[in-house]
C-alpha cells in the first residue's frame, strides 16, 4: 500500500549512503580500542564519532544528515545512569525485600526514560541545520509501552500487532522538523497481515528444522550394533543442534520478515503536509537476505563484523528509500536546541533496553 498523495511543487530527493563497510569498521575498531584503553570513558566520544560517520555519509539531495550530540552530554548521561544503577543494585543487594520497590520504581521511570531517550536522539539529528524534535509525552509512553502490552496478555496476545502499531505510531508519529509536525497514518490491518505472515513462516521453518532433525535421528538410530545408551545420547545430540538453531535463527529470520513488511508501510505513510513525504520499497526477500548475510558474518567473526553488517543494512535500506520534498524545505528555521540531557538514552543503553529508530 503506497501513499498516493503528492504535494504541490514537490521534487524527488535521492538518498545517497556513501559509508563503506571497510571504512566504518576501521573507525569503529579504533574507537572501540580507545574506549577499552580508557576503561569506557572515551566511549562517549566513540559514540559521537560513530554516529557522525554514519549520519555524515547519509546525503539527501547532496546535503548530509547531521549528528549534533556532544561527547560531554553523553558522558554526563552515562555517569548519571551508572550512578542510578549502582544505587539500585546496592539497595536490592542490602535489602532484598526492597527489590519489589525497585521494580515498581523502574516501571514508573521507564516511560520517562523512553521519552527522554527519544527526545535526545531526535533533537540531536539535524538536516540542513534544522533539528528534529519529538513531541511524545510521558502518558503516551506509559500507555503504549507498558499499559497496552500488559493488557494484550489478557487477549492471549492477539492484540499484539495492534499494540506494535501503536508503539510505532508513538515513536515516529510524534516527529517534528523545524516546527512542522509529521503524521503517521498506519493501518492495523497491515500489522495483522504481517503477523500472520510471520506465524506461517515460523511454523514452516520449525517444521523444516524438526523434520530434518527427525530424519537425521532416524538415520543414526537405525544402526543396530550400538548399545542403548550410545543410541540415546546420539538421538539427544541429533536434536540439540537443530534446537539451538531453531531457538536463535528462526526468531531472528521471522523478525526480519515482519520488520521488512512493516518498514515499508510505516515509511510510506509518514509525511509532513506540503513539506516532505517518504517512499520505501524494500522487499521481504531482499531484507531477509541482508539480515541473513549479516548474521553469518557476525557469527563467523564473533561479533567483529558488526560495523560492516550495520553499513550493509543501512546501505540496503537507503537504496530503497526516497524522499519527496517541496520548496518549503529551503526556508525552514530551527526551533529546538540541543541542550537535552542524554540521561534517558544512556540509561536505556546501560539497562540494555534501547530502541533503535532506523
Amino acid at each position: 500500500m503506497t501513499s498516493t498523495t503528492t504535494f504541490t511543487n514537490e521534487r524527488r530527493a535521492e538518498i545517497e549512503f556513501s559509508a563503506t563497510p571497510g571504512g566504518y569498521t576501521k573507525l569503529w575498531l579504533v574507537n572501540m580500542l580507545l574506549t577499552l584503553a580508557t576503561l569506557g570513558i572515551y566511549g562517549a566520544w566513540a559514540k559521537v564519532r560513530n554516529n557522525q560517520y554514519l549520519y555524515g555519509h547519509t546525503r539527501i539531495e547532496g546535503h548530509r544528515l547531521q549528528y549534533l550530540a556532544t561527547p560531554k552530554q553523553i558522558l554526563m548521561g552515562r555517569i548519571l545512569a551508572l550512578s542510578v544503577l549502582l544505587i539500585l543494585v546496592g539497595v536490592s543487594m542490602t535489602h532484598p525485600m526492597a527489590a519489589v520497590g525497585v521494580y515498581i520504581a523502574l516501571i514508573v521511570a521507564a516511560p520517562w526514560l523512553i521519552v527522554q531517550g527519544l527526545r535526545f536522539t531526535y533533537r540531536n539529528t539535524a538536516y540542513r541545520n534544522v533539528r528534529f524534535n519529538f513531541k511524545g509525552d510521558y502518558t503516551g509512553a506509559f500507555v503504549n509501552f507498558i499499559l497496552l502490552p500488559v493488557l494484550s496478555a489478557f487477549t492471549l496476545f492477539l492484540a499484539l500487532p495492534w499494540v506494535i502499531k501503536r508503539i510505532h505510531q508513538f515513536m515516529f508519529g510524534n516527529c517534528e522538523f523545524g516546527g512542522e509536525r509529521f503524521n503517521l497514518n498506519t493501518s492495523s490491518g497491515v500489522y495483522y497481515k504481517a503477523a500472520f505472515l510471520v506465524f506461517i513462516l515460523n511454523t514452516l521453518l520449525m517444521i523444516v528444522i524438526f523434520a530434518g532433525a527427525g530424519s537425521s535421528v532416524a538415520l543414526l538410530a537405525s544402526g543396530s550394533d550400538q548399545n542403548q545408551a550410545e543410541r540415546a545420547s546420539q538421538i539427544i545430540s541429533g536434536m540439540i543442534v537443530p534446537l539451538i538453531i531453531a531457538m536463535y535463527a528462526v526468531p531472528y529470520l521471522v523478525q526480519a520478515a515482519f520488520a521488512a513488511v512493516i518498514r515499508n508501510h510505516v515509511v510510506n505513510h509518514l509525511q509532513a503536509d506540503e513539506l516532505a513525504r517518504f517512499h520505501s520499497e524494500i522487499t521481504v526477500l531482499g531484507y531477509m537476505g541482508v539480515v541473513t548475510l549479516n548474521a553469518i558474518i557476525i557469527l563467523f567473526t564473533l561479533g567483529l563484523a558488526f560495523p560492516a553488517a550495520k553499513v550493509l543494512k543501512m546501505r540496503y535500506l537507503a537504496s530503497k528509500t526516497t524522499v519527496f520534498v517541496t520548496p518549503r524545505l529551503d526556508h525552514m528555521a530551527n526551533t529546538v536546541d540541543g541542550k537535552e540531557s542524554a540521561f534517558g538514552e544512556e540509561a536505556a543503553g546501560l539497562f540494555d533496553s534501547d530502541l533503535s529508530i532506523v
Binding site: 576501521k26 572501540m32 580500542l33 577499552l36 564519532r49 555524515g56 542490602t94 548474521a295 530551527n334 539497562f351
Partner: protein, 321 residues
Amino acid sequence: MVGRSNIRPAIALFRDDGSLRVLATDYDYELISTNIDKCRQGDILPGIPVELHFPDGDYFIPDDADLRWKPRTGILAYMESHILMVLLAALLVPTSFWLVFTQAIPAAARTTAPLIPQEIMDRVGQSSLKSLEYSMRPSQLAQYRQAEILKRWNETAAQAGLTRHYQIIFRHGGQPNAFALPDGTIVVFDELVELLNDDQLTAVLFHEVGHVDLYHGAQMMVQASAGAIVYGLLLGDMEGLSESILGLGISLGQNAFSRDMETAADDFAVLKLKATGINPEVMASALRALPGGEREMNSWREYLSSHPERAKRIERIQKTE
C-alpha cells in the same frame, strides 16, 4: 546558515595573511569577510568534508572531503585510516574483551567478595531461604536422626577447624541434594541423608561449606553485576544478533567460573576430610552414589553445565589420595 535551512553556493578565498572571504557564486557578492583564526574547524571524519565554522554561526562545507582548513592534523581520522592501527585494534579489541570478562572482572570479584560486610551476606542468605521455602517441604526425618547428624557435624566441624558456625537445617526437597547459603545455613534434603552414609554426608557438607568459606556466593553476585555494568558501558550500543552472540559467550563464561568454583569446593572438602581423619575416597563414592552419574557426557555439553563432569571430579579427588 545558523538556525536556518537556507543554503548558498559559494567559494572561499584565502590570503597568506589568514584573511578569508566567502563569495556567493550565484549573485557574485561577498557573504563573509573574516580571518581564519577566528574560525573553528569542524570534526574530521573519513570521507566527509570538513566544515569551517564562522564566528557568527554560519558554516562552509567544501566539496573536497580531503581539504583541511587548519594545519592541526586529525589524529583520530589518521588512526582510523592507518592500516597498522586498525590491525592492532582488530587484534587488541577481542583480546581485551576476553581478558576483561575472563580475568579482570573475576579477579576483582575474588578480591572484593570477602570484603562485603557479613550482615549483607546474612541478609541475602535469609532472603534466599525465605523464597526457597516455597519449593521445599518440612523434613520427614525422625527427630533423633536429625539430632544424630547435628551432633556428629558439630564434632567434625570442630575437628576440621572451621572458622564459622554452620547451621544445618533439614527439608524434604524431592531429590538428593544439599546447598549452602551465604549466611552459613546449610540446607540438607532428606533424600540425601537416606542415600549416603555418615562419612559421605560429611564429605558433601564440607563441599557446601567450601562454597561459603571461599565466598563463592558473594563472588558470583559481584561478578554478575560488574559483568552486566561493563557490558552495558562498553557494548551498550550494539544491537541485534551481535548482542545475542556476546551475551551467549558471557553466559558460557559464567558457567566456566561456576565449574571452577565447584572444583575449588571439592578440593576444600578433600582437605577437611583429611584433617578429620576420613578417607577422601568417600567424597568420590558420594558423587558416584548420586543419581545421574551413569550417563556419560559429551565433552561439549560440559560447556553448558555449571558443574564439571562427574567422572572428572571423581578422578581429581582420587588423584589427591
